[in-house]
Point group: C2
Chain length 253, copies 2
């Protein structure tokens, strides 16, 4: 697959979460975190996430914006049998292709649903845009699909996970980013300037500083270093640890 990025070994992705229930706060999304973690493990850089409502023009606009910018677009939600499940039709519109009941998808539904129960509503779950490749659903059979670089999956987390894992073998992947975490044991303001200097020395290592707050334990700061080169990561880690030791000694003095 032709990547959209010029960097060697870099494969990028975006997630598009489709669903009023996430925006209303009724449902807490669990799919972004899953795809983020798995993408990192697979050497895919997740670069953007969007959440949009069950509104066709919003889905079409987001799909077209994202598929032009990233190597992969993963969508979740809106592929069930009810009137508010409009993702498949919106994707067909975004790609300007026809959509119809797909015999391959019907065959899968029949593995689970008795012939007499396969009504018009359930057949909606077999509507696949022309040119789509099915994504297997080992949990409840109704498939997702890939079209171009867009991978359309269910919103129910257990089903989304199964679909994502079914999809993994055919995804283009890049060089995995390695990372190291360092507990700073200091407040960010104590080392921020020195850390900034190290970041300038290591432009190829992404250095993040993540404060957290716990009512019982107070503030803590974790530094995360990420890079494609292990030797550079090791060198940067050494520089950060030496700097933290130096700052701690200065604060004790």
């Amino acid at each position: 697959m032709a990547g959209h990025t010029a960097e060697t070994g870099v494969v990028t992705a975006a997630v598009l979460v489709i669903g009023d229930e996430i925006l209303s706060g009724r449902t807490k999304d669990q799919n972004i975190a899953y795809i983020a973690e798995r993408s990192t493990e697979l050497g895919i850089d997740l670069r953007e996430v969007r959440v949009v409502p069950d509104v066709e023009e919003e889905i079409v606009a987001a799909v077209n914006a994202l598929r032009g910018r990233y190597d992969h677009v993963f969508t979740t939600g809106g592929i069930g049998p009810t009137h508010d499940d409009i993702t498949a039709d919106a994707i067909a519109k975004a790609f300007e292709v026809d959509i119809d009941v797909d015999p391959r998808a019907v065959a899968l539904l029949k593995q689970r649903i008795p012939e007499g129960d396969l009504n018009q509503a359930r057949l909606r779950m077999a509507r696949i845009p022309a040119g789509g490749e099915l994504i297997e659903n080992s949990v409840s059979k109704a498939p997702g699909f890939s079209i171009g670089n867009v991978h359309v999956m269910a919103g129910v987390p257990a089903i989304m996970h199964a679909m994502f894992e079914a999809l993994v073998p055919r995804l283009a992947k890049g060089t995995r980013i390695a990372s190291r975490s360092i507990e700073a044991g200091l407040k960010e303001g104590d080392f921020a300037t020195a850390l900034g200097a190290i970041q300038r020395d290591f432009p190829d290592v992404a250095i993040g500083s993540y404060p957290s707050f716990d009512a019982s334990k107070g503030f803590a700061t974790t530094l995360v270093l990420r890079a494609r080169s292990e030797p550079r990561l090791t060198a940067a880690e050494k520089a950060v640890r030496a700097m933290l030791d130096r700052v701690r000694a200065e604060l004790r003095a």
Copy 2:
């Protein structure tokens, strides 16, 4: 405030989460769900969410896209003292205004940080774009800010919550959307066509169907009806409950 929407009583919002750590999967976002829930309670319609990395041009582009479309934009993340905290500068760039250390913000920092510890790095947390209004931070003092319709808050959940609640009194709010939840006790495919007919009869009531799956309990479906008019909501709920009773009776027959 002039709303961006023509509908009476409708106030819209978007959330922009800024942070590599969410996209890498290292940190699970908790702020989207908090703002989604609170917005719904306040009569603010959350219409879109985006997550972008700590990259200035990405933040600028997203802020400008969202602030033109929605009444409020809530951002989280990237306002600490380290080199990767670039949100305030990116917002200034998006609004094409200057940014500098703000004496009001410095005064707040001094409530917590001893004068000798107020180094260059910590003063970064007092950089506020020209024309910004501070958002109080009762947890750790370093403030957020509002500029135009964009409200810039911390990423650490406890601090973000404190900032959001400090902001609430000055937010424009709309008519609260009321909702009713109904446990269908049926599979979606059994009632989807009949539910679609009810949705057509009640275009002013948003009817969502949310399947869930639990390995021990199997599938369940919750129907959620949302509307600004209580009488219409009551009428739609009655229609849905009658339909479900009818479908259950048919399935038993």
